[in-house]
Amino acid sequence: MHTMSIQRKKIHPHKYSLWIAMGSITMMFIGFTSAYVVKRSQANWLAFELPHIFWLSTAVILLSSLTVHLALKQFRERNMQRYKQLITITALLGVIFAACQWIGFSQLKNSGLPLNGPVSASFIYVIVGVHMLHVLGGVVALLIMFARAYRTRIRTYSSVPIEVAATYWHFVDVLWIYLLIFLSIAR
């Protein structure tokens, strides 16, 4: 093993990468919503109310943003017990959010708007579904943080991973609020 001089980085590279990745994910949803706008201006567009449970899921994800923020704060204060609790609650809220979206899909289907129905409904399934996958990705990241917190053999004192996970979590929250406002207005 050889050791070399250290290299100073201005911002942690993982944080930098995350910001660029968030820009990239945003572009994908811009792609979806642009397609939605283009289709909306064409014939056969069917406008309908979004499932009410989407509003409940919004409250859930907002709450989860708060809990992940508090988790990060607790981590920085080395209050590991509270940190573990809050990170677990955040992951659970993420799963509840995904479950709410799934129930929303069932409600849509039961109201005569299946995935292969009108294009306007198909868009809801795809856009909300792809966002849900991003949330579930975040849940996996949080669970990894959680497992790391319980690891006894190697102690991690760097807050970078939890900062990255928290920033991503806030991002999927903001993204959902954008999508909800967009889908509510551009019906």
């Binding site: 980085k9 990239s24 949803f29 397609a35 289709k39 920085r76 294009v119 760097s158």
Partner: protein
């Protein structure tokens, strides 16, 4: 306290802080960690390059096969059957095989060779070396980027062996041919594999792009300000930005396409009748796909050509022993191209019934790209003007790049005008234009890069004589192949026709098409010569005896001849000047690491 212990203690102290110091040490590698799942950016660059070369041979071979059909539509080639089996029964390829070969040729060359092979190789190789970084921002993500690319390659390759064959709707994968499994034999599982492969490919590109941007913005060595970076790095930066912003939009288009194929949605489908029977799809529009596709598709042209532009700028300065002319203008023009690349996608859609006002808008934006492009050409020419040019294979390919970029760029002005494009659309003029500008030019940039940085990659030189033969046959051959195609296109000869010989108006080009096909075979054979030179030189090429064989100024030539993982043993060199101090103050070149003298201007 040992160095390592100091690092540990630093990390302890800095926990929670935003500044971060990495623990920079590397374990001894075994075969798997050194050559297979390597975390070293230089090895990953080689992996991209060698995979790209394999793909290039396959993709180019496909073009030889379909050129046989175009050049000799009535002839049979029994040997083809032994390679392609039932796709070429009796020695003649079937129309289905023809379309599949054309589709795979385009897909492979555009994405797997000129995107991953070119950008993946040189961004990986040069970004850490030229900005003075130990490795990429995330070596693990970098490794993952290659393996996603490899996985994408395997899936695409697998599609060649399925019973119904690979996708055959064209490399653009337009619906409805791609959206309906029953549309043609090439619309079946081949399209699913194509879409899966491309999704993996997009993931690979995003992982790579994130790393490139993070590394060059965040991990530059001391003194390496943005305006001291070589133009290669600037071009890789803009390429990565284009990639991370445009590939996700393509992915959104592919996701909708997959839903149309398998979930009965109608994003792209409407009023489809098969054998007189209407399908259930309503309200979809194939044009929507085109918008999403070309939002990536046009930046993709620049994702391919920008790295080549950067490398050519570098090689021209080194080989002419002159500073690059108009360094800031070169960066500005790269930026302008990058912005405009996002605003011109609809020029691919002039014949789709686009609103004429909108068409005029896209014509204007398209023609505007000629301005930064012309700035670059002017600066390349003024860089080599009165230079003491060393005609290495790398410099010849760079000059060839400028030549073909001018040729292809000029015909782009024709196609950028909607009124002319409506006549030329889907003719051989378009084929000639884009092959010259983003096929030949980009390949020339890639060849220039390989010849120039081969010593850095392998510690040996490639054979120059073979390099000269490679250059001249390829340059003359490329013009002989694509120049006549412009005339065929102007005469209205359409692309994508399997057999044009029954139309009198196009049959007149039979002799010309035979000539083109023969040149294609010759040029292909010459590329095999290059491949031989490349692999032979890795093991048997003349060994490097000095660190800086080209007498270049940039940082990669300050590393040892065969740099290990971490690039520089000991301290990373500090930078004091830009990368183009050639023929200054009576000196041939001044490395970037040399401090600026008391009476010396910055540049």
């Amino acid at each position: 306290m040992s160095n390592e212990a100091t690092l540990h203690s630093q990390q302890e102290v800095m926990h929670g802080a935003h500044d971060h110091h990495d623990h920079e040490h590397h374990h001894e590698d075994n075969f798997i960690s050194k050559y297979v799942f390597s975390l070293d950016h230089k090895m990953i660059a080689k992996q991209f390059l060698i995979t790209g070369i394999v793909w290039a041979i396959i993709g180019a071979f496909f073009s030889v096969v379909f050129r046989l059909q175009l050049g000799f539509p009535d002839a049979t080639f029994p040997w083809l059957e032994s390679i392609l089996g039932h796709w070429a029964k009796g020695g003649r390829i079937t129309p289905e095989a023809y379309y599949a070969l054309v589709t795979m040729h385009g897909t492979i060359l555009v994405f797997f060779v000129l995107t991953a092979g070119l950008s993946g190789t040189f961004s990986n190789l040069l970004i850490p070396l030229q900005v003075g970084a130990r490795d990429m921002a995330s070596p693990f993500m970098n490794c993952l980027s290659y393996w996603f690319f490899f996985l994408a390659s395997l899936v695409m390759m697998a599609s060649l062996f399925v019973q119904t064959g690979p996708a055959s709707g064209g490399w653009t994968m337009y619906p409805p041919l791609s959206a309906l499994g029953d549309a043609s034999i090439g619309s079946k599982i081949g399209v699913d594999l194509w879409l899966t492969s491309m999704a993996l490919f997009v993931v690979s590109q995003l992982l790579g792009g994130l790393n490139y941007i993070s590394t060059l913005l965040n991990m530059r060595t001391k003194g390496m300000s943005m305006t001291k970076m070589p133009l290669t790095i600037w071009s890789f930066f803009f390429t990565a930005v284009l990639g991370v912003l445009s590939f996700p939009v393509l992915l959104s288009g592919f996701i909708l396409l997959l839903f149309d194929r398998h979930a009965g949605t109608s994003f792209y489908l409407s009023d489809i009748f098969i054998a007189g029977k209407a399908l259930a799809n309503e309200g979809g529009s194939a044009i929507l796909y085109q918008h999403l596709f070309w939002f990536l598709g046009h930046p993709e042209v620049y994702i391919i050509i920008l790295p080549a532009m950067g490398m050519v700028s570098e090689v021209l300065a080194v080989s002419s022993r002159k500073p690059i002319f108009g360094y800031l203008a070169m960066i500005g023009s790269l930026f302008a191209i990058c912005i405009l690349a996002f605003l011109v996608w609809a020029h691919h859609m002039f014949v789709t019934g686009l609103n004429p006002f909108l068409g005029a808008f896209f014509v204007l934006l398209t023609l505007l790209i000629a301005v930064p492009s012309a700035i670059k050409v002017f600066n390349w020419l003024t860089t080599i003007w009165k230079g003491n040019i060393r005609f290495t294979p790398a410099s010849l390919f760079s000059i060839g790049f400028v030549s073909t970029f001018i040729s292809g760029g000029l015909t782009g002005i024709w196609l950028g005008n909607s009124s002319i494009d409506i006549h030329l659309h889907d003719t051989y003029f378009v084929i000639a234009h884009f092959h010259i500008v983003m096929g030949v030019s980009a390949f020339f940039g890639m060849f220039a890069g390989i010849y120039h940085w081969f010593p850095k990659m392998y510690g040996r030189f490639m054979n120059n004589t073979i390099g000269y033969i490679h250059f001249w046959v390829t340059l003359i051959g490329a013009y002989l192949i694509f120049w006549p195609m412009h005339y065929e296109g102007m005469a209205g000869m359409p692309r994508r026709y399997f057999d044009y010989s029954s139309w009198t108006s196009f049959n007149q080009f039979g002799g010309l098409n035979q000539f083109i096909s023969i040149v294609v075979i010759l040029v292909f054979a010459t590329q095999l010569l290059f491949v031989f030179n490349f692999f032979y030189s890795i093991f048997k090429g003349r060994k490097l005896t000095e660190q800086n064989p080209w007498k270049a100024t940039s940082l990669e030539w300050t590393t040892p001849i065969n740099p290990g993982h971490g690039n520089w043993p000991g301290e990373i060199p500090e930078v004091h000047r830009w990368a183009y101090d050639y023929s200054k103050d009576g000196r041939d070149f001044i490395p970037q690491t040399e401090p600026i003298g008391p009476n010396e201007s910055a540049h």
